[in-house]
Symmetry: C2
Subunit: 120 residues, 2 copies
């Protein structure tokens, strides 16, 4: 059993998103999992990228953004969900004035090495 209060942990600020890791791989008995909350700030577009090995499950918490997966655009709103399998080229583009937040659950996250491939 593991418990994390929403008040624990610290946001990691990147150029085009922020993330807070809730459960790291070592919190799971099974290998390759991670749970994090990602925030895309207002008027922010992530670069298109894909993952070589990991699968990402997205569940939208708050706000509105365009998610592009393999050249198809989806308007992502709270309660919407997506699975990005390895090789799916995707990004998030928050065109609004409010934060866009989602919870990301990873499957098959490699223990070592860079798993992201940037397409731009």
């Amino acid at each position: 059993m593991k418990y994390r209060s929403s008040t624990e942990g610290k946001e990691i600020v990147k150029k085009d998103y922020r993330k807070k890791i809730i459960f790291s791989p070592e919190d799971f008995d099974e290998t390759g999992h991670l749970l994090q909350v990602v925030t895309i700030p207002p008027a922010t577009r992530q670069r298109l990228h894909s993952h070589r090995v990991q699968t990402e499950v997205f569940y939208i918490l708050e706000g509105e953004a365009t998610i592009t997966i393999n050249d198809v655009d989806y308007l992502a709103r709270p309660g919407d969900a997506f699975i990005c399998t390895p090789g799916d080229v995707h990004n998030l583009w928050n065109k609004t004035k409010e934060d866009f937040r989602l919870v990301v659950f990873k499957i098959n996250l490699p223990e070592e090495g860079e798993d992201s491939h940037w397409h731009e």
Copy 2:
């Protein structure tokens, strides 16, 4: 790649909770996963139970409830998260007048057979 709009799917009403399955095991390339949103209605207590094989990851979306895991009570609020590993005896008790909602991600869900053990 898979996409589910929040408007898709139907809630399954059980005696002490409601659930909407967002992604079923067959939506994943990997075995044993499932994503669902669970709602505990106001003034509702689930019976204590555990799972033999599956691990459950909870991320709280809305409301407030007491989650008991192995005889320890936690006040669960939006953004809090929990991992229940096999054998962890747990339940949710919504003592408020509002719905309590959480997203549940399952790991190692068996393909067949009942994986829940009821302790009361």
